[in-house]
């Protein structure tokens, strides 16, 4: 349990780091943010990640696999068409890149 806690806190820390960097990047010049805001945002993101992760695991299990694949993700985003399309696009790109790499060998 301690490990879990430790992991969790480490994860959160890292997540904070990235959330803050995204905030820094995305906010316009004159807008300031405080740490409470980052904290809340990190929590939200963390929650979302956990939930999505749980769903993906469930889907994978449902498909009798023990590896989560992109198909699970696409299933997860079935309700959000735009996001799904975006992910599909991204998948295509990655596949092309992978194919390229494999073909190089």
């Amino acid at each position: 349990m301690d490990e879990e806690k430790r992991l969790r806190s480490q994860l959160r820390g890292k997540l904070w780091f990235y959330v803050e960097s995204i905030i820094k990047r995305e906010l316009p010049e004159d807008v300031k943010y405080n740490s409470k805001y980052v904290n809340t945002l990190t929590e939200l993101v963390y929650q979302q990640i956990c939930e999505v992760g749980g769903d993906l695991e469930a889907f994978a299990q449902h498909a009798n696999r023990n590896v989560v694949t992109s198909e699970d993700m696409l299933l997860r985003t079935r309700k959000n068409k735009d996001l799904q399309d975006f992910l599909k696009l991204r998948l295509m790109e990655l596949r092309d890149a992978n194919v390229g790499r494999q073909s190089k060998r």
Binding site: K14, W16, E43
Partner: protein, 1002 residues
Amino acid sequence: MFCKQKHKTRKKPAVNALMADLSDLSDDDLESLLENNVNRSVNQTVTRHRIPVQRDLFMNVLPNQQTFYEETHTDVSYGPTHHQLNEENLDEYIYPTNYEVRQYQYDIVRCALFENVLCAIPTGTGKTFIASTVMLNYYRWTKSSKIIFTAPTRPLVAQQIKACLGITGIPYSDTAILLDKSRKNREEIWQQKRVFFTTPQVVENDLKRGVLNPKDVVLLVIDEAHRARGNYAYVELTKFIDRFNTSYRLLALTATPAADLEGVQEVVNNLHISKIELRTEDSLDVARYMMRRDREMIEIGLIPEIEEVVEQIGIAIAPVLQEAIQLGIYESCEPHQINAFVAMQQSQKIILNPSIPEGLKWKNFFILQLLSQVGHMYRRLRIYGLRAFYNYFQNKYTEFTTKYSMKKSTNKTAANFFYSPILKTVIDKCKRRLEEPEFYSHEKLEYLNNELADFFTMAPSDSRAIIFTELRESALEIVKSIDILNDGALRPHIFIGQAKGKEHFDEETYIRKNKPKGRTKAARLRRIEEENRVEEEKKRQKEQAKLERTGRRTGSSEEAQLSGMNQKQQKKVISDFKKGIYNVLVCTSIGEEGLDIGEVDLIICFDSTSSPIKNIQRMGRTGRKRDGRIVLLFSGNEKFKFEQAMNDYENLQTAITHNALEYTKSDRILPPNVQPKCEEKFIIISNENDEVNKLEDSDEVIKYATQAMLGKLKTKKKEPKPKKTTAKAKKSSDKTFFMPDNVKEGFTSASSLLNKYTINEFGEKISLTPSVSKKAIKPKKEWNMLDEIEYDSVEISPAKSQVEQPSQPHKPTTTQGILTPDETTNHIPSASQGSSVQTDSHTVQEPVLKKLKLAHQIEDPSTSIEYYSGYELVPQYGATDSAQMLTMQEQRHFLKKYVPDTVHWSIAPDLAKSKTRKIRHVPKIEEILNTCQDMHTNTREKIIGMNRTNALARSIGYNRSVGMELEVMLPSIVVPNETITNAKNMTDLLEDEDGLSDFLSD
């Protein structure tokens, strides 16, 4: 000219024909309300004629032009009258022959019976007789309609009573005199009597109060009708009556209708006159009956002293006048021609002019003010004499010098004038002259005295004389000068109005008030003491003066001049005058009109007014019963003014006779087929009425008349007590408002306006009749049941009902389909749950399905308890004691009365018993909500956690970001597997929860 005829025939009720256009603005509703009310109908025909317009080169009509002009023809016609007429009397009208029959009276009476007439004949020619005759005839012709005689002042009213009742023999029992003294029984009097003598304000008030019904009036006689202008009571009165009744006769009496054509037109409009009967002294038919009136116009020159003063003042004021002329604020003229009125007008103009700078404005104003004062001085010098001038001058002089010496005024122009040496010498001379006892400050006075002396030596012993003048102090001076003659035959007294005299400028008071005051308490006390002393001193002086005055013969006159004469004093003087204690009365304008001074044989007008009405009124005081003599004293430009006034008046008369005025059509009142013939009859006056003739004093007449009216004449005993109490016990009746005929009166409750109609299945409006609600059995429609489904839980919704419902065979199958169980509603206890549990035991529980049914339900007659929404009323609301809830009784009452059957009363939720819970979200959402809320909270743990995470983030960033972009590097995730295998780290892990040591050791 192409003529387009456009006929607009509209019924315009209650609208004066001359003002028909106004009705365009009235509501249709208003019109329809007033439609059937008055019997005057106005037909308006508008004819439009085209007029040529200007066009431009392209044959387009230029804008802003009138392309037509309208001609309006109005036709006024009257319907039949609403008054009840005595058929048998209609064939004739009575003309009393108690007095000599005069042709003009005969003619005027004849006209006045059928039209509204303005009777403008000279004073003393028998207007009252005409009025009385007309009144008598209308009294005979109508059964119960009312006749009102109005005069502006009470003494005049009294005069007329005497005349009317003494001549015509209208029985006392039917007449009433209403002066504003007492208001009790007023309503009774209006109802019981038929002929009223009153002042117009009384009638106006009683009409507005609703005490008098305007429809009852059939004849309105207006005395001194030239006052019917503006918003005087006469005008208001006729306007008010017109709203409800146009079927009444108006007879207007006056000696002088107005001074100009507009004035006369206004009177004609306000009183709806159809005809003016105009006679003057020169008219042949009137002159026959009038006594001789010698009119003598004497031109009197100015005594040399006056001339001298005039000149000297002229010299003194010349520089100021020059300045004024140069500044352009006064017209160029000679100093002695300065006109006070013009100067005042100019000064007013300057004050009102906003474009002049302030300093200049006031300088000019003061100049003009001074000029106006000088003008007044001139006027007094010329017309009233040296003394009047001297008093005025002294007053102004002291006022100015005091103010100036105290530096309250810095008027240099006035200073130059008042302090000039010329003025000083002239004033001193004046003063010395005036102190001489035999000095006449004006030649007029000398002439006046001579005239009076001559007159009274030759005249019979009961002759009287009146002298008219405008100024009070002039009147006093005249009295004094007559008195000095010490002629026993001449006993003068002053006669002025009630107003208190203008306060003379009191130098001492002014100085005391305005000198620099000490602010210390001692100073204040001293001041107060001084004031009191001075007050006392003054009082004593006044007392002394009074005592001295009583010793003198002219004492009371002097007294009067100082403080005005109130009505009591006036009456006393008049009665003394009539008795002969005084035989010369010196009056101001109050004596011209309105007061019953009686007959005199000599009239002297000390000055002349520029109002022809006033002149004529003055001169009308004589020449009635005996020959009279009028002497007019002119000096200065008075003659010119007088002649001009009289000429204007004559022109006015001719204009009137040549139809320069617009008249209105009158209601004939009598049916058109009736043509009464004249019957000259000698009226036998009852003894009571004859008593009136013997009374002289107007007050006595009023008293007598009041007594007669109250029925006290015959029996001189005291009224028995029971009679009084019954009179008192009579309740005052409700205030009546006189409304148009077809108006619903009274209050209606809002509920009676509601719920009258409903829409049946065809969408038609059907009225709800009260009989529906009287049924004992009420079929119910449960529309409102659907509202409560959400509160029902699956468990509670009864699948079966305990009552036999023959009309529902398939309820079980459909029950499930209706409610979709939602996990969220499961744990919510429904509002109905609690109550339905309660009611389950002893009432019929109507099932959910039943609520959806649209069919009527036949109530089980055995159940006597009423149902509303399936829940019994009693248990729920019997227990609760909240103030907002209605008691059972009140509810039942409300339901019966105000809620028709088609609308159901759905009971408000039982707030006392309902348990509401907050519905929780899914855990995921809860988390989000919590995190968002945490942003606002400052709990210590949360803050610490936040800071820890922050520190981790920083360390990661710092560690990995040496010389590199943060975003690019992906930190490795410490996976649980790795940490477990690495035993070395375990101890670290145990200590360091957050794993910060990982990074520190790096």
